[in-house]
């Protein structure tokens, strides 16, 4: 206590005693009275009794309780669990994790200086720390206070609640100190790091840790949209599964049913595997921290920037006044900014809103038109029947383009929101890639289409001639010659001449009629070619889709021949089978669906056998005709598959993602991996550190992001190929071909799940789009209104008073 206050209190007491002397004498009398009647002795007895009770009962109970709580903590291993800052009681108990493993995440780009500093970051649990930054030349208590109060983030451009939430803490923590002279002064749970320019990896010690994992990580650059993630980045939109789940049973094809059943069986096996595990391990806080740590890594760069920028608030730091030339430069820059801002404001106030309004009205008009067209394309006569887009490739192409045009404004609005928040928020990066991928693909498509279209239009006559030639040669003449070949005992096969002539004449007659139609078409062919060429200004995919549709239209006769011959062949085969049963004295019981014995009459048997023989000998003739048309049909299907592949490449090739993968693989994270580094050399080769405690073995691990593998990028193409393969190369299809049953074409909806994987299942309505766009509009307007008139002028005014504030803000 200060001597003056002691003196003052002394004077007060002596003054009081002299003024109230009678009170003092009364007190003295009271004391003597109490002593005479044994009050003191009784009080002493009571005190002794209470002390015995305290030491005998309360202290042991408290000790036991403390020990038990410690045991519970250790048992659940949840010390410092989800919210370490809420477990203040646990902190006071100082229970150490019994394995004593200290895990330190350390950024690789921390400057390797040998100045003392404070290590700042996140404390995920007691011995699990994540280092964000090292603030040089600061005091740990001061830093702790400022971090708790949040002063270091007060002037940040966006609210700090975002990263607090994503990183799972309410404030950053002081994790330790670096390069201190006397490590014993530090808190025992603090990390003591020692680094100098010669050391590759800092030496980390902690009094409470028995072993240390140093995990070095590279900070992803959020400005460059780099980030890491545990799961591969999704290039396709994820909401397709919901749509598939709705699909009813009857729409499901045979392969899908098979797939579903296989999945069921596998799921049961997985359930059984779960029973195999005897002990269920409760994951510790350290195990559960991984998703949080991934977020912390993603935020690390921006947080470090902000901290280093604001470190000047922590206390006085060396400053330097500006030189004359610097002042001249600053004033010139201010003048330039002023003029610049004035011009910009004029533009923003008068010209920009007009442009924006016109553009938005144009967009909305376009959108309404698109909506009407889409309604036509998607119109189904009754639910479940085919719409126009399911039949025609052109209609589908138009539909995809329209859907994309409808989706772009929405995507753009979502992407714009990215600019109004921290750059480290990674949720919109796949959207960004999708948006620019589809933009780029459309641009590419148009460029290729321009080249193709101008070529076709310039050489329309020649192209028309070629097309006409091809049509005549392949759809008419080749068919005619093959049929006439089949009519005249092909390849030495002794076919039934009469039947072959009959069938051949029938087909030839239809072909003659069809060829007349095709010849009628030929004068208008240049116009059609010109139209196809013109359509390619809308993208090279348009003429391809048109050609695909024309191919289907111009080969209708082959399709119908195939159908007819397959029908005949199938009937004949069925009759043969039933007659064969008759021949054996059996018959097919339809009611029980089995083969029964049957007593036939002699005439029945005779007629049946004769018919069987006749039909059997006629079979090869029918077979060759059937095969001829089936092969033609297969060729057309293959041709259309080529067109479809081209279309899907033009519409959905992951071009942007591929380019990104080459340019900057860290923008396409495909997971994480760790690399164990050799530490022995590192420790032994450093002669300046003889006092490393040999008891803390350290392992150095390098934490890396895996770039997305190419297989994952093309996974949807693989899926589509798998589907086509399963549909067309299955034994079922072969059986259909052999027995003459109709081979069902693959469902277009299945085939084009790829095409739609870049588009949302439900497109936004016109009203929603209007709202989104107008909200965006009002936001930009507000921002332009709020824009400070001249930010550098403020600094200019402040400078005279407070030089430090300018220098460090």
């Amino acid at each position: 206590m200060h001597p003056f206050s002691v003196l003052a209190i002394g004077i007060f007491i002596s003054g009081y005693i002299t003024a109230r002397w009678d009170l003092v004498t009364r007190l003295y009398e009271l004391a003597i009275f109490a002593w005479e009647y044994g009050v003191v002795a009784r009080a002493a007895q009571g005190f002794a009794l209470l002390t015995t009770i305290f030491f005998g009962i309360f202290v042991p109970v408290a000790l036991v309780a403390q020990k038990e709580t410690k045991l519970v903590f250790l048992h659940e291993n949840s010390y410092g669990g989800e919210d370490p800052f809420k477990l203040g009681a646990g902190d006071r108990l100082r229970a150490r994790q019994h394995d004593g493993l200290m895990r330190v995440f350390w950024p690789t780009d921390v400057p390797k200086s040998d100045r003392p500093g404070v290590v700042v970051g996140w404390r995920n649990s007691n011995l699990d720390v994540f280092v964000v930054a090292i603030l040089d030349d600061t005091d740990p208590r001061n830093v702790e206070f400022h971090l708790k109060a949040g002063t270091l983030f007060r002037n940040s451009p966006y609210p700090p609640a975002h990263f607090y939430e994503l990183c799972g803490h309410t404030s950053m923590h002081v994790l330790g100190v670096s390069n201190v002279v006397d490590p014993t002064t530090a808190d025992p749970s603090w990390v003591c790091a020692r680094s100098n320019p010669t050391l590759q990896v800092p030496i980390i010690t902690c009094p409470k840790a028995s072993s240390v994992q140093i995990i070095l990580y590279d900070r992803p650059q959020p400005q460059g949209m780099q980030y890491i993630s545990l799961n591969p980045i999704a290039l396709a939109l994820g909401d397709q599964n919901g749509e598939e789940g709705v699909k009813s049973e009857d729409q499901e094809s045979a392969e899908e049913t098979q797939e579903r059943k296989a999945k069921e069986a596998k799921r049961k096996l997985v359930e059984k595997l779960k029973l195999h595990t005897i002990t269920k391990r409760i994951p510790s806080a350290r195990d559960k921290a991984l998703p949080k740590i991934v977020n912390q890594v993603n935020w690390s760069f921006e947080l470090e920037k902000t901290l280093q920028k604001n470190v000047g608030r922590l206390g006085p730091r060396p400053k330097r006044s500006l030189s004359v030339s610097e002042r001249v430069v600053e004033s010139a820059a201010t003048m330039r900014n002023f003029v610049h801002m004035q011009l910009l404001d004029l533009f923003a106030a008068y010209v920009f809103p007009i442009i924006q309004k016109t553009f938005i009205f144009f967009l909305l008009g376009h959108r309404i038109l698109a909506e009407m067209l889409l309604a036509v394309l998607e119109f189904r006569i009754k639910p479940g029947s085919a719409a126009l887009k399911d039949i025609s490739a052109t209609a589908q192409q138009i539909e995809i383009r329209l859907q994309q045009f409808c989706y772009w404004p929405m995507q753009y609005v979502t992407l714009r929101k990215r600019n109004t928040n921290w750059a480290s928020i990674t949720t919109s990066h796949p959207d960004y890639i999708r948006f620019y991928n589809s933009l780029w693909l459309v641009a590419n498509d148009v460029i290729i289409g321009l080249a193709l279209g101008s070529y076709i239009i310039e050489h329309a006559d020649w192209v028309a001639e070629q097309v006409n030639d091809i049509l005549r040669k392949y759809t008419v003449e080749a068919l005619q010659s093959s049929i006439s070949w089949l009519m005249g005992w092909p390849a030495g096969l002794k076919l039934n001449a009469e039947l072959a002539t009959f069938l051949g004449d029938l087909f030839l007659w239809v072909i003659d009629y069809w060829s007349n139609c095709v010849y009628m078409l030929s004068p208008s062919l240049p116009k059609i070619v010109w139209f196809v060429g013109f359509s390619s200004f809308a993208g090279a995919s348009m003429p391809i889709a048109l050609v695909s549709d024309f191919v289907s239209a111009l080969t209708v006769h082959i399709y119908s021949f195939y159908l007819a011959s397959a029908r005949i062949y199938h009937w004949q085969l069925t009759i043969l089978v039933s007659l064969f049963h008759l021949f054996r004295g059996k018959k097919h019981n339809v009611l029980r669906n089995r083969i029964d014995s049957c007593d036939y009459d002699l005439d029945q048997l005779l007629v049946g056998t004769i018919l069987f023989t006749v039909l059997f000998f006629l079979l090869p003739t029918v077979v060759v005709f059937y095969l001829n048309f089936a092969v033609a049909r297969m060729i057309i299907i293959a041709l259309k598959a080529v067109f479809d592949t081209l279309l899907s490449c033009l519409n959905h090739f992951p071009l942007f993602a591929l380019m990104l993968r080459v340019k900057d693989p860290r923008r396409l994270p495909g997971g994480i991996r760790f690399e164990l580094r050799d530490t022995q050399n590192n420790l032994n080769s450093d002669p300046n550190s003889p006092d490393i405690p040999r008891g803390t073995p350290t392992s150095v691990i390098y934490f890396k992001s895996i770039p997305l593998p190419f297989e994952v990028m093309f996974q949807q193409y693989f899926q589509m190929a798998q589907r086509i393969r399963k549909h067309y190369f299955s034994p079922r299809v072969l059986l259909c071909l052999v027995t003459g049953k109709f081979v069902p074409p693959i469902d277009r909806r299945n085939l084009y799940s790829l095409q739609y994987s870049m588009l949302p299942a439900r497109r936004a309505t016109v009203g929603e789009m209007w709202r989104a766009v107008s909200v965006e509009l009002s936001q930009t307007r507000r921002k332009s209104a709020q824009r400070p008139f001249n930010p550098s002028m403020q600094n200019w005014g402040k400078r005279a008073g407070n030089g430090r504030a300018r220098a460090y803000h």
Binding site: L71, L74, H75, N77, H98, D99, L101, R103, D128, S211, V212, Q213, I215, L230, K266, R267, V270, L273, K274, H276, T277, T279, R281, P283, S284, R286, D287, K288, L290, G671, I672, R673, F674, L676, D678, T679, Q680, P697, T698, S699, V700, I701, I706
Partner: protein, 226 residues
Amino acid sequence: MLTTLPHLRIRRPSPTTAEFTVTTLPPPTLSLRILRTILIVFRLLLLLSICTVLSSRWLQSPFAQPLDTYPLWPRTWASTDTLWYIAGCLHRSRLGIALGGLAARIPLPLLVPGAATLCYGIALRVHSSESLLVLRGLGVQTSESPRTYLASAATRFIPTEKIQDIFVNEAFRGFEVRYYLVVVVEGEEDVVVVFPGLLPRRHIVEKVWREARECLYEKAPRGGIE
């Protein structure tokens, strides 16, 4: 000679981190080093001769320009002319002429796939190694060395939270029974086989299993069931 049976190497800088590598790479002796150098030289020579054959085939085609325009040693050392000059020398040499004759005799549909197959063969690795990295508090990571020198190692990281169990399983493979280490991942249909390509013998698998469990999981607090 260049490879051995799969054997185990353990790196364990601290008790909570361990890397188990099963590799067919024998310990580095002098003879092994000499053999490997010879192999590398042989591969390079093979690559060079394949390139020579292909380029001479190209020169024989009507589209190519003749290499005779580079008869002299170019003035500057580091330029593309040097490369052309060397290529020209190579083609004019006796070996080059012989290879050119070879290229002329083999039909093109056979030559190109053959050259591609040989190039793939050159890029193949001699040794393979597969590893399991166990990090307490983080998880386990399996990695396999790629088949060729051109690809990078394939890794798969499984966080501790997702690890349901690690155990040794047995399976028939041909006419033998193999024991293999399996990581069961929660919520996944397929188990992850550790050392899938090499499938080391049982004593190695058992040792890795014991140490990996010890390394991955901390001991139970009261020494009861682990």
